[in-house]
Subunit: 286 residues, 2 copies
């Protein structure tokens, strides 16, 4: 596995690979890798001839009171995991190469970033779309794989790719969960034992909502309420939002006739976690 | 010459050309071509194996009270000129292909777009950088050529390319002028005979300022004042701005020690014209 640290060297690698007629698959990450990331890497490898993974903890997407300074980090372990997973290039640009003196350009997606996490994390998604645009321009992938756990991020990137005529196929990888249901996240490392136990309430809330749907419930308010009861019962959890939204526009919906997403964010101690389930559209009966 | 009207078809063409190991040169325009555009085409052809010219009158970069509806247009004449100039592809996307329902992404450069034209044309440069990002992503050029007449646009695009790690070499082509000094612009077509005569004041003002510099003047205020006297003496002209700014940051400067640009905008009747001269840095003497 080759490590590349500068956009210009990444360009040169990508040009060589493309000139040889090979397809480039790409998985952008912030490191501290877990099985969720590795499942995205497998997906990228299946869809391309060469696989690039980036590790860059992007300061632009953290608010001033957020956890940039305590975002977990294990560079040697990450590199070993990626080597083992058959990754060809680890793209690990320095902050100085990414945001040199005078940097002043922003890529922003307006509508899909307004609600959900966008409400409590102003500027977060502009930071995400800006850095992903940079990473795409550096790596020149044919296909890029993102996790469905960060559903709003996925929707923003799909929108950006369509709107900016980027020639990149965006593929979504399903959320990978721990045995007890907790969605894998690098931030889970910041939970203590009690918080780790409490964090189960997110996936339990989603499961309860899905059971309500399986029992015939179609109304958004009732579905959300089922999830909310579970999370609210957990004393260590503080709900940021639980919402049922259209799967493409992320606008709130009244029922689940179209494809929707039940998305939630909650603080467990100092750690903010997100989770969601994607619901295929179901006709209202009767 | 091939005409391509959709980003996805443009991608396919660009991939074929790049796979053949050929370099793509690109000149984005809004059509109604003049010798200034054609000089940029010659530059692009010299620097690449294939030449793409786009014609797209971009609604995003016109304010609500601006001249989008009366921007001059001559599609058949333009196509003939480009064919004659040896252009390989005319990329002429439709507005529907560029901004379909749900479009919501913006690429914006903050600092260099604040002053000069940015003050009287809010949103203009975000429209420019957004459409140029789209055009770059569609055409995948190795090199793109922009006119120095639109100096602030050139500075914004250079900044965008650097900030977003775009693998495109941006080349500037010198302003081409009519025999009497008027900078060529598609908008000159909107001038009546009296206005056309009056429009000479812009380049005359710049020339007067350059003469002052040749005579030893280094102070920005005096240099600007020389240009302003000339333009203000023209009764049909309304000055928007005349400023001496740093050539890279576009911040106002006090003298011309570093490379600077003397830039101006003025309304001649209903037509807004711009012009500038680029001044190499000169040490203050004595």
């Amino acid at each position: 596995m080759e490590t590349i640290e500068h956009p210009r060297l990444m360009h040169a690698w990508a040009d060589r690979v493309r000139a040889a007629g090979l397809r480039i698959g790409f998985v952008p990450t912030m490191g501290y890798l877990h099985d969720g990331h590795l499942s995205l890497v497998r997906e990228a490898r299946q869809r391309a001839d060469r696989c690039v993974v980036s590790i860059f903890v992007n300061p632009l997407q953290f608010g001033p009171s957020e956890d940039f300074d305590r975002y977990p980090c294990a560079p040697e372990r990450d590199a070993a995991l990626l080597r083992e997973a058959g990754v060809d290039v680890l793209y690990r640009p320095t902050a100085g190469a990414m945001y040199p003196e005078g940097f002043q350009t922003q890529v922003a997606v307006a509508e899909v970033t307004k609600g959900l996490c966008g409400r409590s994390r102003p500027g977060h998604f502009a930071g995400v779309t800006t850095v992903v645009a940079k990473l795409f321009n550096a790596v020149k992938p044919h296909v890029a794989v993102f996790g469905e756990k960060d559903y709003q991020q996925l929707a923003a990137i799909r929108r950006m790719v369509a709107d900016l005529d980027l020639d990149v196929a965006v593929v979504a990888g399903p959320t990978v969960r721990e045995a007890d249901g907790l969605a894998m996240s690098s931030r889970n490392a910041n939970l203590n034992a009690d918080e780790r136990e409490a964090a189960r309430c997110l996936s339990r809330g989603l499961r309860a909502a899905q059971q309500a749907i399986a029992g015939g419930e179609r109304r958004a308010a009732r579905i959300v309420e089922r999830a909310r009861e579970i999370v609210a019962a957990e004393s260590l959890a503080g709900i940021d939002y639980i919402e049922l939204v259209d799967a493409a526009t992320l606008r709130p919906v009244d029922d689940i006739r179209r494809p929707t997403v039940l998305a939630m964010a909650a603080r467990i101690g100092r750690t903010r976690l997100i989770d969601n389930v994607i619901l295929p559209g179901r006709e209202l009966e009767g």
